[in-house]
């Protein structure tokens, strides 16, 4: 108890004495967290959007002739063997015709005189809904193309490709900004601590002579780092939230927001970011004070 009190008192005194460099560090951490979580938020929302769009995603495999029951089973077996799917539906020529007719509504008369089987039969494959499906769908389609009796495989190829490459790009950006966060925080924390160490050399030497334990000397630095990580990440996330809120209000009701349900991080993610930043900074400061434990 007394230990804690002594450590906290020491830390507060420290912060008061070196507040300008502390503020600079805090600003850096805040900005890094802001940049990282900004991209991360976009990334997460894109994944969500992808999942959303995956909901009405299906591959349509056009066949050259109506498959009989054994052939249907054969197709089903092969498809299931290749990948797990949610649903496989066989659409016969006639069913396709009926569907088309219904879609036409009042303009049904254009179909008059057309043979009932002028549309090819098809298999509709509904993949499991996940982002992974989006990335695998091209391979899936390529495979289906090789099945016997297949005329053509259709899916929203273009937008999936484009979306997927954008997600890939975002992933790289997120990783890079995460690295930036890692570097700046540990570097800045280590740097401020080194400054403090220099400015407090006399004091630390005196503490040694008075018999201060290693924990007594190091713990305040550890606490200082943790505090900076905590406050910095909270500030960064708060700033992002303010921006997010503004963005949502600004574009409320527009097509973009109707298409994608744009949401903020769920609480566990917020907590994870804060915890990670706190640990990172605490760790950074802890390691940069290893030197002073030597007598």
């Amino acid at each position: 108890m007394n230990f804690l009190r002594a450590i906290i008192g020491q830390t507060l005194r420290n912060l008061r004495r070196t507040w300008s460099s502390q503020a600079l560090t805090l600003l850096t951490i805040t900005l890094s967290v802001l940049i990282f979580s900004f991209f991360f938020l976009i990334y997460i929302n894109m994944i969500n959007a992808g999942r959303h769009m995956g909901d009405n995603l299906r591959l349509i495999v056009y066949l050259d002739e109506e498959p009989g029951k054994p052939l249907q089973d054969e197709y089903r077996r092969k498809i299931l063997k290749f990948d797990r799917v949610e649903r496989i539906e066989f659409v016969s020529s006639r069913q396709a015709y009926e569907r088309f007719r219904k879609q036409l509504g009042h303009d049904q008369d254009v179909l008059e005189g057309m043979p009932r089987n002028f549309l090819p039969p098809s298999i509709e494959v509904y993949p499991i809904r996940s982002l992974a499906t989006l990335t695998r769908i091209k391979r899936f389609s390529d495979y289906l193309q090789t099945l016997p009796g297949v005329l053509k495989v259709q899916y929203g190829r273009e937008w999936i490709d484009r979306f997927y490459s954008f997600v890939k790009l975002m992933r790289v950006v997120v990783i890079l900004s995460g690295l930036l966060l890692l570097l700046t925080t540990t570097f800045m924390v280590a740097h401020t601590i080194r400054l403090t160490l220099c400015s407090r050399e006399r004091e630390l030497e005196l503490l040694r002579l008075l018999g201060a334990s290693n924990q007594y000397i190091r713990a305040p630095f550890f606490l200082e780092g943790a505090l900076q990580g905590l406050v910095g990440s909270i500030c960064g996330l708060a700033a992002l939230y303010v921006f997010f809120d503004w963005f949502r209000l600004r574009f409320a009701g527009t097509a973009v927001l109707n298409l994608f349900p744009f949401t903020f991080f769920p609480i566990p993610v917020v907590l994870t970011i804060i915890t990670a930043a706190t640990l990172l900074c605490a760790g950074g400061s802890f390691f940069s004070t290893r030197r002073i434990t030597r007598l």
Binding site: A6, L206, L207, L209, L210, G211, A212, S213, Y216
Partner: protein
């Protein structure tokens, strides 16, 4: 050897310290100080008094010889062992070593904080010491703004604050007038009565002329036979001096 007995607080055996290039600050010094004793260490400027005290809290290491404090060989003591030992030693440095931008109270509190004392104890003890040394009104003053004499008293207060078992005072009255010196000596004597061991380096004869305490003199790094003839600086002197003093 009686080194491990709690009755001996400080044991020096044939200790030598040479500063580069060839300043023989201490040569073959042997000295034993009983627990609860108040010992005066005198000698001309440059005789090696400060060096001897610095060896006792291991801010210097000897080139030769054995230094034991509270039964622990300082050459072999571990890091945490030394930290614990230092919390039991209160040293008032000749150059004070105060933190000029910390307040007087903070400076004194530091010695108790490193020992994880309760804040209430720290406040009470700080007040008490400042009052005893007539510095109560300087509680919140930065130490750097004090006069030399005031700084000296703060250094003494810090050395005594944690009620250490061993008090090392290096020229504690060097900047003080007679009256204030008396205050300091009263404090020291009180700690002696409460069982602390004190080693006071000084060339102020008046501090020890009233007798009753052992005085040893350093001359050019060697321990001289003191006035009453005990403690010749040999390894066996410890036993002799103990008997002589009782």
């Amino acid at each position: 050897m009686t080194a491990n007995s709690p009755r001996v607080m400080v044991e020096l055996i044939k200790v030598s310290k040479t500063y580069p290039p060839s300043v023989h600050a201490l040569q073959d010094v042997s000295l034993s100080v009983r627990s609860g004793e108040m010992l005066f260490l005198t000698g001309k400027s440059g005789a090696g008094k400060t060096t001897l005290l610095r060896l006792l809290c291991r801010s210097e290491v000897p080139d030769k010889g054995l230094v034991e404090v509270a039964g622990q060989d300082l050459e072999r003591i571990s890091g945490s062992g030394l930290q614990q030992l230092r919390r039991r030693i209160g040293m008032a440095y000749q150059d004070f070593r105060l933190l000029p931008r910390h307040t007087v109270a903070q400076n004194i509190a530091l010695a108790m904080e490193v020992a994880y004392r309760k804040p209430s104890f720290i406040r009470k003890r700080t007040r008490e010491l400042l009052e005893r040394l007539r510095l109560s009104d300087k509680y919140h003053t930065p130490a750097g703004e004090l006069s030399r004499g005031e700084q000296q008293r703060i250094a003494i207060a810090r050395a005594l604050a944690n009620r250490p078992d061993l008090v090392l005072a290096d020229e504690p009255t060097g900047n003080l007038d007679r009256e204030t010196s008396t205050l300091v000596m009263e404090l020291f004597r009180e700690h002696e009565e409460q069982g602390a061991t004190l080693i006071i380096a000084t060339h102020d004869r008046e501090l020890f002329d009233d007798g009753g305490h052992r005085v040893v003199e350093l001359r050019d790094g060697r321990l001289l036979a003191p006035e009453d003839g005990e403690d010749t600086g040999s390894g066996d002197a410890s036993l002799q001096s103990e008997e002589a003093d009782q």
